[in-house]
Symmetry: D2
């Protein structure tokens, strides 16, 4: 099956690639030589870049359009993260990175992110993001439109 | 026009994206957040990874299949390089990386590589590769099948 | 006070730099320009490299010398990790990366790692490492000499 | 001989480490695990980071103090570069990165940079930098105090 890269993949395509529980954002990419280390597999740090790339797309495509036009983009700061490596990845392998917001509080929210390749979960990542004013001076309450999207679209839980 | 990523692009598609002189290998990809620096444009080092990625595909797809089956893959070492930055690149831009072998000697050859985006040349890179035995112990003469491919397919010049 | 980089720092020097609870391995380094992102502070991924660098030194300096001379070095695989970002870091700041083994089981162990700068904890990281045979074929029991070092030197807990 | 890292090294120390022609700026550092690739030597891209790091120190320590206090720092853009790899580098090796301005025109200048390790030249790099207004809007003439420093301190040639 042909895989489209750098393009949001809908629920059916996700299922066709073995992701039983489709996510609000899923984008495919391929392992690069530069991501290998001396053990000839993808180094543990490379996954952080993959997840970061997808978070930027998630926010730009699924959050920013909900905010008032022309409003300055909030600054989002990584507060903490957890990662679990299930199976190594090798040169040239295709993968699908998925993400959703799984929980939120008044000024922070949690991303659940995964890497799938060849129908198997390779890496699972969870991180907490704090929302700040654009100039970084203070925490910002998550706007109501984003809270609604997290609840309804992502089925996130509110942990206020 | 839809751009296919991570897939060799033929001469007509290359021309359609503004590459007047199509190259033997051309593959599309997209700028990642991690490739930006404090100036908010792609850092000069990121292009090195893009060219490296494409050289690996070039050798795996256009050279290795010409070598005797089961022969150990020669080691290729970067000896020197030149790069010229024509125009900066920004977050999320698509680009096509192209490559050909433009010249060769008995044990070394030269890659010409370019980055094209939105119909404009962004970066041009040239590097010299030395071919070594798989264990790195000695220089290796470029096999005749590769010399033929460099001459006939890539229109490389022999600079013996 | 002059800080010595790339050199194991003893307990007194660690305390002099604000690390109240000195660790078995502590090495200083300095933030590089390449580690900044568009927000002009150290990107979250850079810390992973700092911790990785220190784990290699820890194993090479404090574990390998305990193993039988000439024995092949076990392969160590990162299984999972947690990180918490306490305070951002900026261009040119000095930091001390610290590490100890805080727990172990029969074939795995846990590193506690921290980044200190200007007397304040900036980042805390914990990761679980699985010990494998040198060829990666099977899990390896942690040798007794390493178990003893983890218990006695690092005050690690055995969680068998 | 003990090597001081992350500290400008004077002419005598440079000579003591095999650099026959001492440079205006020389700073020592050490190879990290993350800089190795599957061939188990320093990947060709890592040197770009080392040279970039040193250019930032050069400009901050030897140029910025010459400019009027409080003046906005000019933006410096990499226009082109050449690199030659003389000898590979391995895990844990110490190196000294050196730099000088070797030539300048009205709005651009050339850095000559080298990596020395164990008394041998490992990599030589030359790059051309364009000086821009702080907002990137236009080229900026190199201020007279910098021209004087390039001429007198670095023995650069004016190629107007």
């Amino acid at each position: 099956m042909t895989l489209r890269y750098h393009t949001p993949l809908g629920p059916e395509i996700q299922r066709a690639h073995g992701i039983a529980d489709p996510q609000p954002m899923a984008i495919a990419d391929r392992v690069r030589f530069a991501e290998l280390d001396v053990l000839n597999h993808v180094n543990n740090k490379a996954y952080m870049t993959w997840f970061e790339t997808l978070r930027v797309w998630y926010f730009d495509l699924l959050c920013t359009p909900l905010l008032p036009a022309g409003a300055p983009r909030p600054r989002t700061i990584l507060r903490s993260a957890e990662i679990r490596y299930h199976e190594e990845m090798l040169m040239g392998e295709d993968y699908i990175a998925t993400t959703r917001v799984s929980a939120f509080r008044n000024t922070s929210f949690t991303y659940d992110q995964q890497i799938w390749s060849d129908g198997r979960l390779r890496t699972a990542y969870t991180c907490v993001i704090v929302m700040m004013a654009p100039d970084g001076s203070a925490r910002l309450a998550i706007p109501q439109v984003l809270r609604d999207a997290f609840l309804n679209r992502d089925k996130a839980s509110f942990e206020g």
